[in-house]
Amino acid sequence: MAVSSFVLAQRQLVAETEDLATAQMFTNAANLNRALDVVGSDIPALLEGLRRPNNAKVLLLLGDGEPRSLSGLVIEDIPDDLRVLVRSGNAASKRFRTNEGAQFVTGVRIERTGAEYYEILPLTETEGTLATLRRILIGASATATILGAGLGYYFARRILQPVASAAQAAEAIAGGDFDTRLDDQSDPDLSKLTRSFNDMVEALRLRIERDARFASDVSHELRSPLMTLAASVDVLEHRREEMPESARRATDLLSKDLMRFQRLVEDLLEISRLDAGAVRLDYDTFGVIEFLERVVAQSRTPGVPVESDEAGALILEADKRRLHQVILNLLDNARKYAGGATLISVTKRGDSVRICVIDNGPGVAPADRLRIFDRFSRAGSDAGRRDVATGVGLGLSLVAEHIRLHDGKIWVDGVTPTGTGARFVIELPGLEVDVTGELEELAL
């Protein structure tokens, strides 16, 4: 706005000055025209007698080519293009710039004598006025801008502050801090929002607590009968040889399904603990290769080779007990659906370790590769690629949850281009390579 004001004022002022100068020039030229008729008139006196507002300089170029001027104006001061115009009989004007500042020149040819008449008006005064105006405008608009920005910022903050703290609170709550509440607001609209936000958080907290308590109650309630069952079945197994054939078979069935039931209960409880955010990882530092070899040795497919190209010892910081479950689950999965894993390969990727459990089975169809980590999903049960009769689809979802807790990644892809063979890939952060041989200090 300041800019357009300035431009308008500038145009107006310059145009007025120029109009005035042009009018004066025409008047002067007409007067000269009359005076030049009188032979022997005193030209310098004539020029002196002209009205020259604002110290305009004048130059009269008579038909004989002799220049007469006041204030030391010479013909070279007149811009050439203007002279051409004037000589051809036109009245002309032009704004131009010398080292003395902006100038306005007007010129006209006095038809009868062939004389040329020029006036040059310095625009310094106008420019001075404009400069002052510009300074005022710039100052005013700068002040207005700063003041406006300051006020705008202040009010925006005042208005947005509650929104910002709500966002902060929501973030804290998402992070598990359910004691977070918003401060009371004086604004009635905001205070309504604050109240319902706080009510919502409280409801959420109660619900999560109830869920967690439920999980732990169920856990306790289920554990007790399972304990009695486990101990009783153990006694039956001890006495297995003394039983008649049918009782023996019944005992075996009981024992096997009790194990399955126990696994399922454990998995379900672990999942509900995970859902309640009640699982804390117990970090331990250990060598990856040795760890994997031990897991494999304990699994039901103890012959699976563990391979790595790394020279130094790969030391990982992770929850050993849970990672043990993860690897056992993957080995178990390979055993059930692919006749057992064929290889576990370990590679280092920056400060992460990548553990691949590879099998030779029918593979996982691309469409199932995400779904397979869902709870109770059995990939491709329609296509019959995986045996429906075995396992309950919790293992892989637990695996995925545990890896997620470790800030790691898990996915499955195919081994061959045609998609047969499955490769379950786990990527876990927290890897260090020990090349110093510090481990050799260990008593073995």
Partner: protein, 227 residues
């Protein structure tokens, strides 16, 4: 007389089933349904191993454990509901030697009990030389640890742990190795067993347990006896 086990558990059916399973191993089992009756039973008929459920009405399992520890170093196995709670650490700090989570396989319990019995029978390490580090003197043969002129009283498990570390002073023992040698666990035993026992050991043998002089931690690797 055979091995005598005291099981403290408030759920009667569990108590009966566990008793039956342990009796299959040829052991004598005494039952107690509350902490108070467990203490009475302990005094009148001292067992070789005590199995305590943490969730007891009235006097809880931790308290039973603490009271037992005040008068005896009988091997104690805690039974907790879950492995990943503070209960495990609290139970070990109360003086338990080992723990099991419900529902456990009775075979696993029997294996743990056998490991404990072995530990208490050869707590005296017959073939080990006397070790002296600073003011601390360990005599494996007599099963005695002296701190200057005073005898330090250790439980069988603490003593066995210290003897393992003292067998190669200056060498770092990983948790896995200690779990295997002291508790008879495989590689996947719970490292917290070692950590809490080391802590307990330090309160007994270290002049300043907060900045240990003898039983030192090798960060990320394990523990060693500083020569």
């Amino acid at each position: 007389m055979g091995t005598h086990i005291l099981t403290v558990e408030d759920d009667e059916r569990i108590r009966q089933a566990v008793k039956l399973a342990l009796e299959e191993e040829g052991w004598t089992v005494t039952e107690a349904g509350t902490g108070e009756s467990a203490m009475d039973s302990y005094t009148s008929n001292p067992p070789d191993v005590v199995l305590i459920d943490i969730n007891l009405p009235g006097m809880d399992g931790f308290e039973v454990c603490r009271q037992l520890r005040r008068e005896s170093d009988v091997p104690i196995i805690m039974v907790t509901a879950r492995a990943d709670t503070h209960d495990v650490v609290a139970g070990l700090e109360a003086g338990a030697d080992d723990y099991m989570t419900k529902p456990f396989a009775p075979k696993e319990l029997s294996a743990r009990i056998r490991a404990m019995l072995r530990r208490s029978r050869n707590a005296e390490q017959g073939n080990m030389q006397r070790v002296k580090v600073g003011e601390l003197e360990i005599s494996p043969e007599e099963g005695v640890v002296m701190q200057g002129d005073t005898e330090v009283h250790l439980t069988k498990t603490e003593f066995k742990l210290l003897c393992e570390l003292a067998s190669q002073p200056g060498k770092v023992f990983s948790r896995e190795v200690l779990l295997e040698r002291v508790w008879g666990y495989d590689y996947f035993g719970d490292g917290r067993l070692v950590d809490v026992h080391i802590r307990r050991l330090r309160t007994k043998v270290e002049p300043d347990p907060a900045s240990p002089r003898y039983v030192v931690t090798a960060r990320g690797l394990g523990y060693k006896l500083q020569p």
